[in-house]
Assembly symmetry: C2
Homo-oligomer: 234 residues x 2
């Protein structure tokens, strides 16, 4: 019997309509649909995929850590083994990935374990990067601009160095790191040009200019967009 194929399916950032036609087709045909549990995004990804799944589909929960800094080797090994068993039984497996599978997602740790051993196809998804920019009405980059994407978990001097080196930046996973990011922006005189986009496409979504944001922390699903000139076009 032929082995099944593993699909890493980007389902977009939260809005169910930001699924691609290709992702919808793959989901309709998959025998097994796997999704991470133990993280906010897993349930959300399943909700987006659900209307497209075949009646007889097998739902496979993968208990994976939410904290991207945490070590979770055993859980990833177990998830990879569970997926492999289905593939070896000839069943295609679609792993749901919020946003895009290859941008900061937990799918990367499954890919690391399975690439080269099983057939894998990655279906790109709308990333929170472009979704947040669209919601905020803030172009990301134009012409020769460099654009850096950097997690807010980085040290303050790292953030400052990267903000200084580029024309445009998206600081992701802001959460409890807001005060640090705010200091970095202030020191570089970029606060006026920065905007915070929280929970784009989800309940409670909002866009707040950084100079009006008074909280000490925001959602983990928050991103700060900044452009040196205040706008991406010249």
């Amino acid at each position: 019997m032929m082995n099944g194929r593993l699909y890493g399916v980007g389902v977009g950032p939260g809005d169910p309509e930001l699924l691609t036609l290709k992702a919808a087709r793959i989901l309709r045909r998959a025998a097994v649909v796997a999704y991470p549990t133990g993280e906010d995004g897993g349930a959300m990804a399943l909700g987006i995929a659900d209307p497209h799944l075949a009646a007889g589909v097998l739902r496979l929960p993968l208990p994976l850590a939410f904290d991207p800094q945490a070590s979770n080797e055993a859980a990833y090994d177990g998830a990879a083994a569970a997926i492999t068993a289905h593939l070896e039984a000839g069943r295609d497996v679609a792993v749901l990935c919020l946003g895009d599978p290859f941008m900061y997602g937990s799918f990367l740790y499954l890919f690391a374990r399975l690439a080269g051993r099983v057939e894998i196809e990655v279906i790109p998804g709308i990333s929170s990067l472009t979704a947040c920019a669209a919601l905020a009405g803030r172009p990301l980059a134009a012409r020769g601009d460099s654009l850096v994407v950097v997690p807010a978990t980085r040290r303050e001097d790292d953030l400052m160095r990267l903000l200084f080196a580029t024309e445009a930046a998206a600081i992701i996973k802001v959460g409890r790191h807001l005060a640090k990011v705010r200091r970095a922006l202030d020191r570089l005189g970029l606060t006026e040009q920065a905007v915070c986009v929280e929970r784009a496409g989800l309940d409670g979504q909002r866009v707040v200019p950084m100079n009006e944001l008074t909280e000490d922390s925001v959602s983990y699903f928050a991103m700060i967009l900044v452009h040196r000139r205040g706008r991406a076009w010249s």
Copy 2:
């Protein structure tokens, strides 16, 4: 009469299936569909959108420059005026954007002219960034990685500085700048970790490791992906 609404619709990087459900819905309902001409991407964008357009849709060509470095003020002013006339007549206008409207697209110059004056909604699209990574089977970034997107039009020392400052990079619009990019990668010892993705999702697509690429130039629709560790997960 109510004015129409302007949609900047990302149609993805070339594969017609990488259109989102939302873009398909907007395209079905638009009275006018505008697309840039005079650039390779415009015809491609229209081809992707075409199966979704209503029977009576008005197709509005916008003569815009292909070279993102070129000044083309009069053409953009004219395109903005043509769009505004339709909006004022109460017709919704969808402007087709290859990839994502807010990442390096010509839509930015229309947005610059019309934002604040007409109602605008941006529908994010799959960018060539995630599409190229998916095709190459190369994760972009994980955990705390910083990821820079930079056009190959930048000077060699700019490219080196940005490659040195980040864990991961996507060098876009490579075209005739290949030799310069190759030198920058060589000098930083990153050639082994770099891959060139040409025309992802289009005829003639290919993925070539940089140490096997012998040409002096590649397509304008080529991107070089590089990660310091050779892979995005630790």
